[in-house]
Subunit: 260 residues, 2 copies
């Protein structure tokens, strides 16, 4: 029996931090048919609030260290301000949105990252997705909107990377749905030349990715992102797209399509 389609879309700071772009995106998202899930990052709100409260943002290797105070800031801004603003706007556009952290409905279980050479603090690595319950929630007509906060089911909330949340939901829900995962970001897709906005690689397979990686055409920050994509495809996700938010209104717009 063929499974129903589910589209999971991740948006980051570039969408969240600009009211007009967010509004446009959420209108387009509301028009999308079928089951869908939105995952959002935090944008600049957390850094802004931390600054106002005099809490220092400590970054190690480009990652935020989440101490107790910073976790509270993340919960207030991601699960509070950003999530509820998005939910209220989606409701305005007649989408039956419901905002969630991984604690809500025990939907995303994680484990506090063990302290190695760096103590990242209250950061959670995802260990499980409550796929059956998320499916039953979708079947009530709701569109889940996830922020990047998870929990350990021992009462502790944990900060988690939003890309990883989207990927884990895609993998965890793939036994129940045909999943398309779309990462929206500021570029049009994976570029061969960072200085040329239109140098988009339109099709990436594991073979072509490995070739481009060897030739150093794809490098640095894009590598872990794409490694995660191929991992997700190997674990059952049907297809992945990396694109500008414009793709939601116009699925044929120039973008990167990734498949095995």
């Amino acid at each position: 029996m063929s499974k129903e389609k589910l589209t999971i879309i991740k948006i980051g700071g570039n969408v969240i931090d600009t009211p007009e772009i967010l509004d446009r995106f959420l209108q387009d998202f509301s028009q999308m048919e079928g089951f869908k899930i939105l995952v959002h990052g935090g944008g600049k709100e957390a850094t802004r609030l931390a600054g106002k409260l005099g809490i220092e943002t400590v970054m190690v290797d480009g990652r935020r260290v989440t101490d107790k105070e910073m976790l509270e800031v993340a919960v207030m801004t991601y699960a509070g301000l950003c999530n509820k603003k998005i939910v209220a706007l989606l409701q305005k556009f007649d989408t039956q949105a419901i905002g969630l952290t991984g604690a809500d409905g025990n939907s995303i279980l994680s484990k506090k990252r063990e302290t190695g050479s760096v103590d990242y603090g209250f950061v959670g690595d995802i260990t499980g997705i409550n796929a059956d319950w998320i499916k039953s929630l979708l079947e009530t007509g709701a569109t889940p909107v996830f922020c990047a906060i998870t929990h350990d089911k021992k009462g502790q909330l944990l900060n988690t990377n939003a890309d990883t949340v989207a990927q884990s939901l895609a993998v965890g829900l793939s036994p129940l749905f045909d999943i398309t995962l779309i990462y929206c970001f500021e570029k049009k897709g994976v570029l061969t030349d960072i200085h040329n906005e239109d140098s988009v690689i339109e099709e990436l397979t594991l073979a072509s990715y490995q070739e481009l990686k060897e030739k150093n055409v794809i490098h640095s920050g894009m590598l872990p992102k794409l490694e995660n994509c191929f991992q997700a495809l190997q674990q059952g996700v049907k297809e992945i797209r990396i694109a500008n938010p414009e793709i939601i209104a116009n699925p044929k717009v120039l973008h990167t399509h990734i498949s095995m």
Copy 2:
């Protein structure tokens, strides 16, 4: 056909602000059988965060004025910090909790209060409950945990009194369920003598309430609370209890039972 039972419990600052009391209450709440909904106030977090951010708390007639900055503080603390802390703890105690504002699932619709002699700002008066959807959410096995933020379905979040949220949910869901509404607060119930903790009025009917009101035994702050209770009973709520949080573990503990 008899309706299924649903218990709606409202807790306030006295429970939320004391970790041991909150933990005890949530454990007891987790043990309760049948459909249940938790509604919580904000406790002192909002005032504390506003203070840290240098935002002045303006009160008129004992009510907080909610300007744009204060609304953000309310959303961050009520929908973020307090709500998600409660949800994570309930999950620890194996309750399938899901945290909600009125925007989530369009569950509680409100209208911005019109400016009369006082402009209360972003304060919402409840105009509707999405009872069918809340019922379908309960049927997924979830236990909703509401904070006192609602929305106008035009994209605007609004601050709303938590007692009113509990009352409106009780009235709105009464066509679908047999509702018991329990207001938990720091006293054992409605007292005839504020200085005597045990002077609890165990049974209140509309007739006995009016008599006690005339004799000035019940007065001041208790009056609007009880008027709201009788209004809710007239609108279909089956019974209301005003009690200490202890009632959850021990239903026979001394408390006030209110019926028509």
